[in-house]
């Protein structure tokens, strides 16, 4: 347990960035990870606790010129209730549908899910499929600056991301997928609600004339971070979606997944699950 010397609830991004520049800040958004982690002693508070809920412009979805910007304090419920997410970003919507419980979806934020960087983080797998980018705001020399990092490069390890202490995750950006894009998310846990994924899979591709292109596949809970599955993607790209392609893709999954054994499952079980559930997902796409 560490001592908080100051609590701040800035109203603007400028103000938040000023506080971050002074250093030693723990950022609070929904609190659903921060509270239990601090109570369990897994996280030590910095001397300043900064609540970003009231920062103007950080919550909500805006689509401009084919780019969707999701503000960092947008809750999982906000995403779940969005018609745009439901109709055009199926994998992300399905992940929100399987996310914890209503009470946690109402409080938890997309920015928090990203910064918590759990290998099993539910929204992270579909965001990887959607080639999401993380928008980081800072104020190094008295003026607000913005840095954009592909989500794929943002995760370093469990709970570790490429965010400088002076930076705030302000938003996630997604290029809206092209016409004909289909996507899906699968999560396996021992019960439907409030479970941490044993494994999760995200899939997305343009499926036209029986062939796949622009294929993106991501796995959760089979590596120290959520990962893209380049071998699976290569096995599917440009191929007709038939039995042979599906078998090849499932074989390739073994080269991408690097699971460990833990309290939720053994590494063997996770490999089998990834293989079998990927097969099921691809068959679902094939059968429309």
């Amino acid at each position: 347990m560490s001592t908080i010397q100051h609590y701040a609830a800035p109203r603007s991004l400028e103000e938040a960035a000023d506080l971050l520049r002074q250093g030693n800040v723990t950022v609070l958004a929904g609190g659903t990870d921060l509270m239990p982690q601090s109570k369990a002693g897994k996280l030590k508070f910095q001397p300043v606790l900064m609540n970003i809920r009231n920062v103007e412009g950080l919550r909500g979805l805006t689509e401009t010129g084919g780019v969707l910007r999701i503000g960092a304090t947008t809750t999982i419920t906000d995403l779940y209730d969005s018609d745009l997410v439901k109709s055009r970003l199926a994998a992300l919507w399905q992940a929100c549908d399987h996310f914890a419980s209503d009470q946690i979806r109402n409080a938890g934020t997309i920015g928090g899910n990203i910064c918590n960087a759990s290998p099993a983080g539910d929204t992270l797998v579909p965001l990887l499929v959607l080639n999401a980018r993380v928008v980081l705001a800072a104020k190094p020399n008295g003026a607000l600056t913005q840095r954009v990092v592909p989500l794929r490069e943002f995760f370093v390890g469990p709970g570790k991301v490429r965010r400088e202490p002076s930076e705030l995750v302000a938003a996630v950006e997604i290029d809206m997928p092209p016409p004909g894009f289909v996507s899906a998310f699968f999560k396996f846990g021992t019960r439907p609600a409030l479970d941490i994924s044993t494994i999760s899979i995200g899939f997305g591709a343009v499926y036209e004339g029986g062939k796949l292109r622009d294929v993106r596949v991501a796995f959760g809970a089979v590596a120290p971070t959520p990962i893209r599955a380049p071998h699976v993607e290569a096995a599917l790209e440009g191929k007709p979606l038939n039995e042979e392609t599906i078998v090849a893709a499932c074989d390739a999954a073994g080269q991408d997944a690097r699971p460990i054994s833990d309290v939720r499952a053994s590494d063997w079980y996770r490999r089998e699950m990834v293989r079998n559930m990927l097969e099921r997902m691809l068959n679902n796409v094939r059968n429309g």
Binding site: M1, T3, I4, Q5, H6, Y7, A9, L28, G30, G31, T32, L34, M35, P36, S38, K39, F45, L49, N51, R53, N54, T77, A100, S101, D102, Q103, I104, N106, A107, P192, A193, L194
Partner: protein, 157 residues
């Protein structure tokens, strides 16, 4: 000792001012600072829903919320809902359907049931079940709780 934060918010319709530690949960504030013990401490990590409260019209686990984050917001606990006509309807239906055994989970269930029906007054049984996924009951087996909530939904039609 962590920093103390002065907060002002609406609690069950009444403006309140209080002083809380920066690390304190909303649950601890409601129970130990404000003396409203209807909200229960179950698991303390968001798994059981016994501590469900409503903030700005949506439910969340008060054990996962920082008390300081209540500043400027509209908080309702089971005591506030119990004094409301809709809360009475839920209470009566829980009693009528025998949806209460030990009663520890009941305040959380009633808070969440209220939220489910506010968002979707016509909620189907399946939608009610989805809505209360974040609430655990170790006595009733849920059947009677779902029936009690569905009873209120049906009566509203």
């Amino acid at each position: 000792m962590s920093a103390m934060v002065d907060i002002t918010f609406k609690l069950n319709g009444i403006n309140r001012k209080t002083r809380v530690s920066a690390t304190m949960s909303a649950l601890d504030m409601v129970r130990d600072v404000l003396g409203l013990t209807g909200t229960k401490y179950g698991c303390g990590e968001g798994e059981c829903g016994a501590c469900t409260i409503s903030v700005d019209g949506i439910t969340l686990n008060s054990c996962l919320m920082f008390a300081a984050d209540c500043d400027g917001r509209d908080v309702m606990t089971i005591e506030g809902l119990a004094a409301d006509r809709k809360g009475e309807a839920l209470r009566d239906s829980f009693v009528e359907h025998g949806a209460v055994q030990c009663g520890f989970c009941t305040p959380g269930f009633v808070m969440q049931a209220h939220h489910v029906l506010e968002k979707n007054p016509d909620a189907s049984e399946a939608e009610i079940q989805r809505g209360i996924e974040g609430n655990l009951c170790r006595c009733t087996g849920y059947r009677k709780i779902v029936d009690a909530i569905a009873g209120v939904a049906a009566a509203a039609k």
